[in-house]
């Protein structure tokens, strides 16, 4: 790909902070943003919401990458319990939704549209509210919803 791709980090960071305010207002989590680029993703952003009393962290991820020659802008969410020791402390929202046949695409392909990004982030936020409320509250933990490597 010869054309230079404009970073979406600032825009996405703002969108995430806006769509996930419920984590701060209802569950008392505190956000922290980190962005980077590496050999895997052209750029990526992680907004990590943490509540040390409930011993939970929620990661909302955004990443731009090439997959089978398509430029993809993808969003994802996961939760981990603190302190993280191994994969049993990791809850993949994607894996969980797949297990109940409620998975959906969270990628924008070849073109970043702010309004579509908001729709995706809102769906993820609603999934967390609908399916992970007790986890966010630190009341329960669901095991075996980590991404398997084989």
């Amino acid at each position: 790909m010869a054309a230079k791709i404009k970073s979406k980090i600032k825009t996405v960071n703002r969108l995430i902070l806006n769509e996930f305010t419920f984590l701060e207002s209802i569950y008392d989590y505190k956000p922290e943003s980190n962005s980077k680029s590496d050999s895997l993703f052209i750029e990526s952003l992680e907004v990590t919401y943490t509540n040390t009393i409930k011993k939970r962290s929620v990661r909302i991820s955004y990443f731009m990458g090439l997959a089978y020659d398509e430029l993809k802008f993808t969003f994802n969410a996961s939760i981990y319990r603190m302190p993280y020791s191994d994969s049993e402390d990791f809850f993949s929202l994607n894996n969980y939704l797949g297990s109940i046949n409620k998975n959906y695409s969270t990628s924008l392909i070849n073109h970043f549209d702010k309004n579509e990004a908001v729709i995706i982030l809102r769906k993820i936020a609603n999934s967390l509210k609908d399916h992970a409320s007790q986890i966010l509250n630190g009341e329960v933990w669901l095991r075996n919803y980590y991404p398997r490597k084989d």
């Binding site: 895997l40 997959a67 993808t74 981990y80 990628s107 980590y146 490597k149």
Partner: protein, 91 residues
């Protein structure tokens, strides 16, 4: 991983591979990006979870641990890497 955990449960002081938080988050993101499609081997090899797994298996081999092979898919980049380290060949 479930099978590995199950087998390890019956052993005394087993060591099993534990992915770091950043590695498992990155892997979860990659699965989401490929959305059910096969992730190319050259991409898998760049991931933190693959590199951590490779470092771990080399270490346990180097320390002389008994290594239990619980099997795996012949097309698994991870399993093939582990076999190469343990047996010197992926076949």
């Amino acid at each position: 991983m479930d099978k590995v955990t199950k087998v390890a449960g019956g052993l005394k002081n087993p060591e099993i591979f534990k992915a770091s938080l950043n590695a498992i988050t990155e892997w979860d993101n990659l699965l989401k990006e490929y959305n059910g499609k096969l992730i190319p081997e050259e991409i898998v090899k760049k991931t933190k979870i693959f590199q951590e797994n490779q470092k771990w298996i080399k270490e346990v081999k180097g320390k002389g641990y008994d290594i239990l092979d619980t099997g795996g898919g012949s097309t698994s980049t991870f399993y093939n890497m582990e076999k190469e380290v343990v047996y010197g060949s992926k076949n």
